[in-house]
């Protein structure tokens, strides 16, 4: 009788402990997901700020002013340098409709 009672108590305690452990693990994972979401937000914001800074630094106005002040050693052509279509692959990154990754 005592053995049965002790076993039942132990089983109930063991189930509770496992439940608590699982709950803790679940909370830990939730915290990790939240932290990663937050880190992703931080990275997106940092990316936006850096993109803004690079675009400001390389804006056509800035570059043209530098050329006019003689800071850049660039000579303008008197006739079209080439008849090929002008491409700016770095700026057009992701922009091409056909560049969508296959899923």
């Amino acid at each position: 009788m005592l053995f049965r009672f002790g076993s039942a108590i132990l089983l109930a305690v063991a189930i509770s402990l496992v439940g608590i452990g699982l709950e803790k693990e679940s909370l830990k994972l939730k915290r990790q997901v939240s932290r990663q979401h937050y880190q992703l937000e931080v990275l997106i914001n940092a990316h936006a700020k850096m993109k803004l800074a690079t675009q400001q630094a390389g804006s056509p106005g800035q570059v043209l002013n530098s050329i006019e002040r003689g800071e850049l050693d660039v000579k303008s052509n008197r006739r079209p340098a080439s008849t090929n279509r002008r491409e700016m692959p770095l700026l057009q990154w992701h922009l091409n409709r056909s560049s969508k990754p296959d899923k």
Partner: protein, 594 residues
């Protein structure tokens, strides 16, 4: 006897007590039943309202890119400072914050006094990095001061394409330009989540079961090219400096696709400093101003007359030595001309020659011509505030109209209408719809689907005149206008330029009559003539200095400069050698416009 009486007395008291206790229990039970069952829903909702609050998850507005992927508008996260007036203990902090944020201290104290019972008061929204560092260094107490993150719109190119882009106000709503026209796409869709708070208002749980994620705004790729836009704006600035006009605008268009490569208007403003925008600078004169086009309208009417077989290219007209009586009205030319060919009427911009062509077309033909080229109706440029221009109903036209319309008077157009109509001439007589949006992609710059998005308008081509008529007009009279006519100052080395000048008198606001001092000077040009790639329109409103205000003098050179730089930038080869032969024009039956 005595014992019996005392028994009755005890029993009465006992019963009273029992009844009182029972009644109390009934009242308490009733109240409990009311709270637990009858009023349960109401009280539960009150508790939920007090404990659970809905928090908005703001969507990040999408970017705007130029046709090559240069960033024109983007969004970054900034901090806004708020305070809790009820918790404010130290007045010294207020003066320190005002100093760091350059806020008028008296004004802020006044605001503080009015809101001293409140739990929330904005101090300054969207702080700059320097301001944020300054406030952080003050080590303000957490209870009374705090930051909230908000999105801030930034325009890395500054004032570039300000009128075309528009801006977003303090509440993130698009105002003017693309920002307003496509606000529903760029803004995205805010999400929300529910927070559970304790009695002190502290968040104890974030409930994810009823959470709705924010949907970030779409990124739009516009047809503008930052480099061409910059060239255009610099030329407009030099016009402003040299001729001191009231306003000026310029549009550069791709002649094949009717895509707007540049659209600029001065006075302009810096998009990053909306607080400094004046009312005059806010107006986008390229789409929201109307003026009488003057001689720039003449090619369309000649085209209509040729198309209907009412005119032959080799015909000569007597221009009456500069004076022509038309009904009760005496028409004048700038110079005294005798016999002029159709080409010379356009090259020398003879009003009398055009009036005689107008007589052949009659009012009905003139009306049909101007409406066929899109005047009097919106072009559908996808920008807010576009005007339709003014083309009066045909019933209101009279004998004066027959002389005035061919001179570009009695009709008001917008610059965007005029260049769109000229693109039809340059594009073999096909009227196209101007386009400003090139693509719509997601916030990671990936296309949402392989199909063209809805915002990218399909190219609608409406034939207005035949290819031969359009080809002849562009390659003969309009090329000669630049070669030996009123547009000589727009000649370019290497490219065959075609163009048309316009000098329209404006009505004097005091007398109501045409003024000899107030003009709108304009010039439209394009190149290469045998296969037009680019068209440029420059309109200068009321130039105030200089000996004359002719379109060829004021608007011609800057338009040619923009055209030259654009063609060189687009690597269009020189065309002065190796042009295509001119199409032969066949005799046309007298018919209506296409």
């Amino acid at each position: 006897m005595h014992s019996e009486n005392s028994k009755v007395q005890i029993s009465w008291r006992t019963w009273s007590l029992i009844i009182l206790v029972v009644l109390s229990w009934i009242v308490i039970s009733g109240r409990l039943i009311f709270l637990q069952y009858i009023g349960h829903r109401q009280f539960a909702s009150v508790v939920a309202r007090q404990q659970v609050c809905k928090e908005k998850i703001p969507a990040r507005p999408g970017d705007i890119l130029d046709r090559n992927g240069r960033l024109l508008a983007t969004t970054i996260v900034t901090n806004s400072l708020y305070m809790v007036p009820q918790e404010l203990k130290n007045q010294k902090n207020v003066s320190e914050v005002c100093t760091v944020l350059s806020i008028n201290q008296e004004y802020f104290q006044d605001r503080l006094k009015k809101n001293q019972d409140k739990l929330f008061l904005w101090v300054k929204r969207r702080l700059t990095d320097d301001e944020l560092a300054g406030v952080r260094s003050l080590n303000l107490p957490d209870k009374a001061w705090g930051f909230r993150q908000e999105y801030r719109r930034k325009y890395p190119q500054g004032a570039l394409a300000a009128h075309a882009l528009g801006l977003r106000d303090i509440d993130g709503k698009g105002q003017g330009g693309i920002e307003e026209a496509f606000d529903h796409l760029i803004s995205g869709q805010n999400g929300h989540r529910f927070l559970v708070r304790d009695a002190h208002g502290r968040v104890i749980e974030v409930r994810n079961d009823a959470r709705e994620a924010a949907r970030n705004g779409e990124t739009l790729v516009v047809t503008l090219d930052s480099i061409i836009q910059l060239y255009t704006e610099r030329e407009l600035e030099s016009i402003l400096e040299k001729w001191r006009p009231k306003s000026a605008c310029a549009i550069v268009m791709d002649a094949k696709t009717c895509e707007v490569l540049a659209l600029a208007s001065v006075p302009t403003f810096n998009l990053n400093h909306p607080e400094k925008i004046s009312e005059t600078a806010w107006k986008n004169t390229a789409i929201a101003s109307i003026y009488e086009p003057g001689s720039t309208l003449k090619p369309f009417l000649v085209a209509a007359a040729l198309e209907r077989g009412l005119l032959k290219t080799e015909e000569q007209f007597d221009c009456e030595r500069g004076e022509y009586q038309m009904g009760k009205r005496l028409l004048h030319d700038h110079h005294s001309y005798g016999m002029l060919s159709v080409t010379d009427i356009l090259v020398k911009s003879s009003n009398i020659g055009m009036a005689k062509i107008g007589e052949r077309l009659t009012n009905a033909g003139l009306y049909e011509a101007v409406t066929a080229f899109g005047f009097g109706q919106k072009t559908g440029i996808q920008l807010p505030g576009e005007l339709t221009g003014i083309v009066r109903p045909l019933e209101k036209w009279n004998i004066y109209s027959t002389g005035s319309i061919p001179m570009g008077q009695e009709i008001a157009v917008t610059p965007i209408q005029l260049i769109t109509a000229h693109v039809a001439l340059a594009n073999q007589g096909k009227l196209l719809n101007p386009r400003l949006i090139r693509d719509q992609i997601d916030h990671n710059y990936y296309p949402r689907s392989h199909e063209e998005p809805e915002q990218v308008r399909p190219l609608v081509s409406t034939p207005v005149i035949s290819e031969e008529v359009a080809d002849w007009l562009v390659r003969v009279p309009m090329v000669e206008t630049v070669g030996r006519g009123t547009g000589r100052k727009a000649q370019l080395e290497g490219y065959t330029v075609f163009g048309k000048t316009g000098t329209a008198q404006k009505p004097d606001p005091q007398t109501g009559r045409y003024s000899s001092q107030l003009h709108v000077s304009s010039f439209i040009c394009g190149a290469p003539a045998h296969d037009p790639r680019v068209l440029v329109l420059v309109v200068v409103n009321e130039p105030s200095v200089g000996p004359n205000h002719y379109g060829g003098t004021i608007a011609g050179p800057p338009a040619a400069e923009i055209l030259n730089k654009t063609l060189m930038y687009l690597r269009v080869p020189f065309d002065k050698s190796g042009q295509k032969p001119l199409r032969q024009m066949t005799d046309r039956p007298r018919n209506a416009l296409r």
